[in-house]
Symmetry: C2
Amino acid sequence: MLRLYDYLSSGNGYKVRLLLSQLGLPFERIDLDLDKGETRTPAFLKLNPNGKIPALQLESGEVLPESDAILFYLAEGTPFLPDDRLERARVLQWMFFEQYSHEPNIAVARFWHMHGEMTEEQKALLPEKHEKGYAALSVMESHLADRPFFVAERYTVADIALYAYTHVAPEGGFDLEPYPALRRWLDRVASQPGYIPITQG
Amino acid sequence: MLRLYDYLSSGNGYKVRLLLSQLGLPFERIDLDLDKGETRTPAFLKLNPNGKIPALQLESGEVLPESDAILFYLAEGTPFLPDDRLERARVLQWMFFEQYSHEPNIAVARFWHMHGEMTEEQKALLPEKHEKGYAALSVMESHLADRPFFVAERYTVADIALYAYTHVAPEGGFDLEPYPALRRWLDRVASQPGYIPITQG
């Protein structure tokens, strides 16, 4: 059986859980507590030397880390990934946008909000996280103004990748009210067959 | 003809230039000066709303941004991208590692070193950039200890993605002397057919 090394409140872990649910693939979930350093133990570093969840252990025993690489791997040959070469590249375009321009701002601000009192350094950096996070949300809003989903007019792993931390952005202090197209897209994703909430392990 | 919106000293732009050279594909290069805000003009934001180079304009007129999505797109069906599903996912794994764990530390430290006097905030953040950048280099060193290239025992776009900012890491204050396997890999990449240096437009 597939085994997912995960952390329940992680949006990166949630991406994989959500796709596995929508593909109807059974899996075993191993929860590692980031606050207790459980992704930095020698045993876990043997599985993923970069010390991060999620990491998916395949039936062969091989371990694949990086949430968006896992999504792409699981989605190949399914309706969640287009066959067209340029559309596949567009899926990757939005995944790299997510990991570079979105997650480091929105997910990190959320993490700081959720994990106890912020340090002085975090408080000093928060305005920049918000500024860059809102810039990413604005790029998404303008793209969604005349499209139902990010790529190929249908629900793909690009939507899963971006949904994960966008729908919980308010937990990082972001106000989604000024983004109506984005809020309609959030509803559209949440109404897909096999949808599960981030709180579901 | 393909048109590449680029900036000569950008490692992200260099990735695409290097692959285009190795594929023997002719292209027109448009240099945008980041220091003069040329990626934030209304004309360029119409091409890439996220306001970043590189962005590749295809013969159809469509524009594909995100360096690693461009590499994947150009490499499909060529020896630079494996056909095997898991090996393709491994290429993406290292590309996402590059954009999340490597570039934001090593490339950003280099950018700060190269673009005039650092601000007080940059000086305060530099030790963390160095710590996280060295952690990424250590992950690469241990992976390369018994492998010639990152994936599938051969030169792929995963190597191009990681080479771009690793080989100029010393310009960001990184010492590569403690990473012998990584230095041998740098030499291996630089000896590939069609190789061009980052200084070549």
